[in-house]
């Protein structure tokens, strides 16, 4: 069905990013095709998170450009990215800790809310109906991620693995066309990792969402990705399907150290 890899939807051209004198990314180009699962891997400090933050517009690269569905963005910012259908999760989980799971996921619907402030303040017909429609959508997300039992719990009280799931839920509530996942499996045990893998594959399969994910753990990624970019010291050292990347000598030496 929807899971047929299509045209290039996101194209990064010659992106360079530096913080003062420190070069985080040097001249990196790669593309992402519609409906695929694209992984960015690399050892610690390789520039993976920086790469994701460039796509999302948190960082502005000094050089290079981002082409999203044929539209060029010289200066992306997180709000524009969200409007363009890019949503993301965070490595260190940036949920709204004081709010319940439902409220957190509801915030993901914010861009889709059409009624204005005044109607909302009066809790008037259209505003109320809209709220209920969004709430129904959020319940779907909650069912999908199997977190019905914690929907009213304040997020700050949840264990780490579940917080990660809520973080994914908030991103999904936006109904993104591109989903950026920043180390979705970091700090999880084997069982939680398996669950997360299943959710990622299901999202991709059922909604046709294009997924760009960063991962430190090479094993997991190779199993679920269509294509993989490998970064090391801010440079691209490999790009291709998992098998090609696995047998790339440069990648092997980056992961295992020189001499192998």
């Amino acid at each position: 069905m929807s899971r047929e890899i299509g045209e290039v939807i996101l194209d990064l051209k010659n992106v360079s990013l530096a913080f003062g004198g420190v070069k985080a990314l040097t001249d990196i180009s790669f593309d992402v095709r519609e409906h695929e699962i694209r992984a960015i891997i690399g050892p610690n400090g390789a520039g993976k998170s920086s790469m994701l933050n460039v796509i999302n517009g948190v960082y502005r690269p000094q050089q290079g450009e981002i082409v999203l569905r044929g539209r060029r963005f010289a200066r992306m910012n997180p709000y524009k990215a969200a409007q363009a259908g890019i949503s993301r999760t965070f490595q260190n989980i940036a949920l709204f800790k004081g709010m319940s799971v439902i409220d957190n996921i509801m915030t993901g619907r914010n861009l889709k809310i059409r009624t204005n402030l005044l109607l909302q303040a009066l809790w008037w017909g259209p505003a109320r109906r809209e709220e209920l429609a969004h709430r129904a959508k959020v319940e779907e997300v909650i069912d999908f991620l199997e977190i019905q039992h914690i929907r009213k719990t304040p997020v700050g009280r949840l264990p780490y693995g579940l917080q990660k799931r809520v973080d994914l839920g908030r991103a999904l509530a936006m109904e993104p066309s591109i989903l950026l996942l920043d180390e979705p499996m970091a700090g999880m045990n084997v069982e939680e990792k398996q669950d997360m893998c299943r959710f990622i594959l299901d999202v991709n399969d059922q909604f046709g969402t294009t997924i760009v994910l960063i991962e430190h753990d090479m094993g997991v990624v190779m199993d679920i990705s269509d294509r993989v970019v490998v970064l090391d010291y801010g440079k691209k050292i490999g790009d291709g399907d998992p098998d090609a990347v696995r047998s790339n000598p440069e990648v092997v030496s980056a992961y295992l150290g020189a001499g192998h």
Partner: protein, 309 residues
């Protein structure tokens, strides 16, 4: 017994006004992580605007009706507070995104001076009065229950009622609407809020507008009670202990904190005053705040400060 209840009610009513000013602090702190030192100046500015507009507008339009004049003046002052909120976001906050809390605090200190200066140079520095037809005479109630009845100040009662309604409406707005939810989201995490498509700038304008309206209502109430004068800016200082007591991030905390301090002030003045000398009302709330800072720095309802290491 009757006297105790009377003092208690007086305290509750005064406390409601503290709650209102404290709410202004909490709203802005929640939404932008800024401790808004200009809240007092906003109260003064709004009250000055209201007092002068109530004279000017009927003059310009030739209106005789005091009620209509007051309503128009209130709307005009509200509009002015919206403009102030918009300008603050445009000229100050927008340029300070992701800066340290101390930087933002200093910026609001600057805003306070500008508002005070601007207010007195536009509206003059005399003492004005706001007359919105608040009933001034005290009334006797429950004469059957208590010996001699309870003496209630009608003006305080109306003021407390207005404050309570406003506080209730704001709480509903924050909890029940999607904009309210977006406001809470921004309060929690700027970056995450932005990445899911919540426009920070708009949210900040909204929140400063709301704080402006709260300041206006507080300004009108205090102004009609005490007259509009420069010391109104220090009313906000009386709300500072309230905020510490209730917790900077909690709306219910601001309300309850205000009530506790209002009651505490009055009761301590009446019952402790004779033993350790008068004037307790002035420092009692700060003392209470100090105790809280020592033993429960997050306040009654504030979010506990836990950092993952």
């Amino acid at each position: 017994m009757g006297f105790f209840v009377e003092t208690l009610i007086g305290g509750l009513m005064a406390g409601m006004l503290y709650s209102l000013v404290a709410l202004g602090f909490v709203l802005i702190f929640k939404a932008s992580g800024v401790f808004n030192f200009a809240q007092g100046a906003m109260v003064l500015f709004a009250a000055l605007a209201m007092a002068r507009f109530a004279v000017w507008i009927p003059g310009w339009l030739g209106i005789d009706n005091a009620l209509l004049g007051n309503i128009l003046a209130f709307l005009a002052a509200g509009g002015l507070m919206f403009a102030v909120a918009w300008l603050i976001e445009r000229l100050v906050l927008r340029h300070l995104v992701n800066q340290e809390g101390a930087t933002l605090l200093m910026a609001t200190l600057g805003i306070a001076y500008i508002l005070e200066g601007l207010g007195t140079s536009i509206f003059g520095s005399d003492i004005y009065k706001i007359d919105i037809g608040m009933p001034k005479d005290p009334v006797m109630i429950l004469e059957g229950t208590f010996e001699g009845g309870l003496l209630i100040n009608k003006e305080d009662f109306v003021a407390a009622l207005i404050a309570a309604v406003l506080v209730g409406l704001l709480t509903l707005f924050f909890q029940k609407t999607s904009t309210g939810r977006a406001l809470r989201a921004v309060a929690d995490d700027h970056q995450a809020a932005q990445s899911i498509g919540i426009p920070l700038n708009r949210i900040w304008v909204i929140v400063w507008c709301v704080a402006g309206v709260v300041a206006l209502v507080a300004g009108v109430i205090w102004g009609s009670k005490l007259g509009v004068q420069f010391s109104l800016a220090t009313v906000a200082l009386r709300a500072l202990p309230v905020v510490i007591l209730g917790g900077l991030t909690s709306v219910p905390g601001a309300i309850l904190g205000g009530l506790i301090i209002g009651v505490g002030e009055k009761l301590s003045e009446v019952y402790l005053g004779p033993h350790i000398g008068g004037g307790i009302e002035i420092w009692f709330s700060y003392q209470l705040a100090l105790v809280f800072l020592l033993f429960r720095p997050q306040g009654l309802f504030g979010e506990k400060i836990i950092d993952r290491v």
